[in-house]
Amino acid sequence: MNAMVSDSMSSITIGSPEYAQVLDWLYREARLLDRGDFAAWLALMTPDIDYQMPTRSSVLPNDGSGFHPEFGLFSENYSSLSTRVKRLQTDQAWAEQPRSRTRHFIANVLVDRDACGAYHSTSSVLVTRLRSNRPMDLFSTERRDVLRTHDGALKLASRKILLDHTVLDAHNISIFF
């Protein structure tokens, strides 16, 4: 994964109004996911949303981070995210019936602004998932988001979910990150 911050980026000070705006967006997005309001969540995406979760292997330091550049566990655009949301609205999406109970914990948020005014944030995101009476699933990730103003509101244009897991210890990924 290449570093996203380049010379044309300006870093946004923690506690500034712009930082607060991004943080507010991230928290509100997480609340929609944890409350299961997926239709409202989908409305936060730009029409050209690029949503990726690369596969990862455990490799020696000289071989990099282990993330595969072109192969993942999610490779989504607006249509596929919308298909996933519609699926949850059917009455036969068994993996989410009963619904998983998730919690998105967001920390270590850093924000930069690019020359076009889009915000690039990196954050540590810990997602817990409980469903039925199964043991809790933990997903430990770094999220790299690009937020852009679209139709007068801040929307998610790109998200990379970088798992710390190489072997996922969860039977499925029926939730969003």
Binding site: S58, V59, L73, E76, S80, K86, R87, D91, V167, N172
Partner: protein, 453 residues
């Protein structure tokens, strides 16, 4: 028993569990009955390790995962770590991933590149062919007690590949891989032997652990097509599957030799669904690489799911990845690695024909990742099923009652089917499951199941 009449005595093995249950009672092909214990019982899992996994061929890797000399991947063979490495001579070898000195795990990354294998613990160093090259402070040993030629890496007993699929076995006596695959090769070629360059792995396998017994996903991938309209009802509601619940029933269930099974299913009467929907520029490859009988079959079908006994499955399907994308074919291979009686590590690969265009490669990938694998809108629900089946079958009361596998079990094979093995008309049925469990029972109860009568 009439073993006395045999020229060579066959070793006897105990065929009763500790509670005196006869292993023959666990599976009855004739009565289409399967005991729930086969999915959860630790004692049965131990027997599987001893009599099946350490005796048969198990999938290890695809040759394309090791493109260059010195490339390696680390895998498990019947629960023991192995390193699969391509030598300077281009030959792929596999060794127990363990130093002969203290047993330390040697290669600790999932994949990488090596010139030699050096143990992190005391520095014993091996070549890519497994020879012990050097030890730390050799002068401090009595030479007679350090015979390096006897301290090479422990080789996997047998390693062979079929059209890119690398298999290993801890059993010296297991038949040649080609013979083990038998007439299943006729069908495997439709997927891994159809194009000039064969297939390669896209990316790396998706790997995840599921609290299920390995036989549940395998059972599903023997060609269970009739779960689609209940398990994947959401896809029907989204318009991703045709509304008629019998629409995927018009194929055949095929029982090849040796417990290897599959189904083949036609799509709608439209040339776009012929040859599994592969891009038309690949069809001349099929014409060159397949026999006339294989080519005629390939032309008829859009979907096929099957299993190479015991736990390597494949799916060749033609579906939409989302509501707006056109259907695209993809080929996924699955290795259901048994970790414990109720724990399975899934290795899900996307394969692609090497000559595939970048556009087709991308479409195939996006379709696969959106529908199958842990996040796939189809497979999410399969995984939920396999875990819940496993959990419920742990119950001692539940175990008093066997499971029913009887769909189509009364039907006779369709003698007019042009491929090898026994084939039954209609792709909804449990003939392939019964064949799989029947073979599983042979391996658990016979001392030399690899010897075919």
């Amino acid at each position: 028993m009439q073993t006395g009449q045999l020229a060579q005595p066959v070793p006897q093995i105990a065929n009763r569990l500790r509670d005196n249950t006869d292993l023959q009672e666990l599976v009855s092909e004739g009565k289409a009955h399967i005991s729930r214990r086969v999915y959860v019982d630790p004692e049965i899992f131990e027997l599987e390790q001893e009599r099946l996994f350490r005796k048969t061929w198990m999938f290890l890797a695809h040759e394309s995962e090791l493109p260059g000399k010195g490339d390696y991947v680390t895998r498990n063979l019947a629960g023991e770590p192995v390193v699969v490495v391509r030598g300077d001579d281009g030959v792929v070898r596999a060794f127990l991933n363990s130093c002969r000195h203290r047993g330390m795990r040697l290669c600790r990354a999932d994949n990488g590149h090596m010139s030699t294998i050096r143990c992190p613990y005391h520095g014993w160093t091996y070549s890519k062919t497994g020879k012990l090259l050097s030890v730390f402070a050799p002068d401090l040993y009595d030479a007679a007690h350090l015979r390096k030629e006897a301290l090479g890496l422990i080789s996997v007993a047998r390693l062979e590949s079929y059209k890119g699929l690398v298999f290993g076995s801890w059993n010296e006596q297991v038949p040649k891989l080609e013979d083990y695959l038998g007439n299943m090769r006729f069908y495997l070629d439709l997927f891994v032997g159809r194009t000039d360059g064969g297939t390669e792995v896209v990316g790396i396998p998706q790997v995840w652990e599921v609290s299920t017994n390995w036989k549940f996903p395998t059972d599903n991938f023997t060609g269970d097509n009739f779960h689609l309209y209940s398990t994947h009802g959401s896809a029907v509601q989204l318009g991703l599957l045709p509304p008629d619940p019998m629409s995927l029933s018009f194929g055949h269930l095929i029982r090849a030799e040796g417990g290897h099974v599959l189904h083949v299913v036609p799509g709608p009467p439209d040339p776009a669904f012929e040859y599994f929907g592969l891009p038309r520029e690949l069809i001349p490859h099929l014409q060159r690489n397949l026999s006339p009988a294989q080519l005629a079959l390939a032309r008829r079908y859009a979907f096929s799911v099957g299993t190479v006994f015991p736990n390597l499955s494949f799916m060749q399907v033609l579906i939409q990845g989302d509501r707006e994308s056109p259907p695209s074919p993809f080929l996924s291979f699955r290795f259901w690695e048994p970790i414990g009686p109720t724990k399975t590590r899934v290795w899900s690969y996307l394969f692609i024909d090497k000559e595939a265009s970048p556009e087709y490669r991308q479409a195939s990938y996006e379709t696969y990742v959106r529908t199958f694998g842990p996040s796939g809108i189809y497979e999410q629900d399969d995984l939920e099923n396999w875990e819940e089946c496993t959990r419920v079958n742990m119950g001692k009361v539940a175990q008093r009652y066997g499971l029913h596998h009887g769909m189509g079990a009364h039907l006779d094979p369709d003698k007019s089917f042009p491929g090898p093995g026994d084939a039954w008309a209609g792709s909804y049925g449990e003939r392939t499951q019964l064949a799989f469990y029947g073979e599983w029972q042979r391996w658990l109860t016979q001392p030399q199941p690899w010897v075919r009568q």
